[in-house]
Amino acid sequence: MAKRAKRDRYWDPYIAGVLLGILLFATFFLTGHGLGSSGGVNRILVAIEDLVIPRHVDTTPYLAAMAGAERNPLDHWIVWQVAGILAGGFVSGWLRGRVRAETRRGPQITARTRWVTAFVGGILMGYGARFARGCTSGQGVSGGAVLSAGSWAFLLAVFAGGYMMAWFVRRLWQPGDDT
């Protein structure tokens, strides 16, 4: 039962949920806004673009709003928060011996297939998150907690999109013996 023991090292979902809820409340209480992550990745990318192709950034309204002329896209709370997420994830994994270069995948596909589908999934996720003005954390969880109507519609849409597609790509995640 080694597999079982390994899985048991994760927190109970309700305990994790309560702690995350308290953290989310504390964030709103202290700062007036919630958690986020894709917005931070966005700003880091725009900062890089601004170094490489500053004229393009200045002439694209969506980018200029973050990094046009004298604006510094990194001067924003969400960038610091993303740095914290990376550090916190690393420390948590490191304390539990989970920092290991490896590929987590369904047993029916190769690591290479998994990388391709992860990359494709990431493209859709990044595009969709900007389209929706926030990702699962910034739009869904944070907006959900302050009862934004749009955030709840968004949350339902994320689950709907996932369940509509799940059957078509089930081979990606199906367990071993396909019987």
Partner: protein, 198 residues
């Protein structure tokens, strides 16, 4: 009264420190709940592992109870709290695209960061994909700018929309969530057998 203008209270460096600490706790919790492993989120879409739904809605509702409790006690000014403005249809379209991305990728942007921080190679590919998607959006949004700004309903909350007090809405959602967790576990055991995940 809360919330505070952090930059004015603790200075810029103090504010950055607080944001980094908040992020640290966020990343720590996500990793501890197992979201560094893509199979965890993917399992939600096959009803094999309901952790994503349980963590997410527990967090949302615990925070909602505390927020509206603090507001009722006069400790927090809800009018000063950022409520994501509703752009109904762009939000729904974006959400559908993300749902498809989640079942392909096994992550959302936040969880992929903790996956990458613990060296999961699939998470690193996912983060790279996210970067491409985000850049792609910045380059293409001008093509459908009108739609992207359509159905803007401003600061629309569920309590405004339903015409009910916030406390009633929160209680109702808590009831729905408890029912969903309970029924979800029964269904999961019926399909896959065994005990609860975690």
């Amino acid at each position: 009264m809360a919330p505070f203008e952090l930059n004015e209270v603790v200075g810029q460096v103090g504010a950055w420190t607080i944001y980094t600490m908040i992020g640290f706790a966020f990343g720590f919790i996500l990793e501890s709940a197992g979201f560094g492993d893509s199979r965890r989120l993917a399992g939600q879409f096959y009803w094999r592992d309901l952790t994503a739904m349980k963590v997410m809605f527990t967090a949302i509702l615990v925070a909602a109870v505390l927020i509206f409790w603090a507001t009722a006690l006069g400790w927090l000014d809800y009018d000063e709290v950022w409520v994501n403005p509703t752009y109904l249809w762009p939000g729904i379209v974006g959400g559908l695209i993300m749902g498809v991305g989640a079942v392909f990728g096994g992550f959302c942007p936040g969880t992929s960061l903790v996956g990458a921080a613990t060296l999961k190679l699939d998470a690193i590919w996912f983060v790279a994909g996210t970067a491409v998607g985000i850049l792609g959006f910045g380059e293409t949004v001008a093509l459908f700018n009108d739609f992207w700004h359509s159905s803007h309903l401003g600061r629309l909350t569920l309590q405004d929309w339903l015409g009910l007090p916030a406390g009633v809405v929160v209680l109702g959602l808590v009831g729905i969530a408890i029912l969903a967790f309970w029924a979800g576990d029964i269904l999961r055991r019926r399909i896959y057998g065994g005990t609860n995940e975690s």
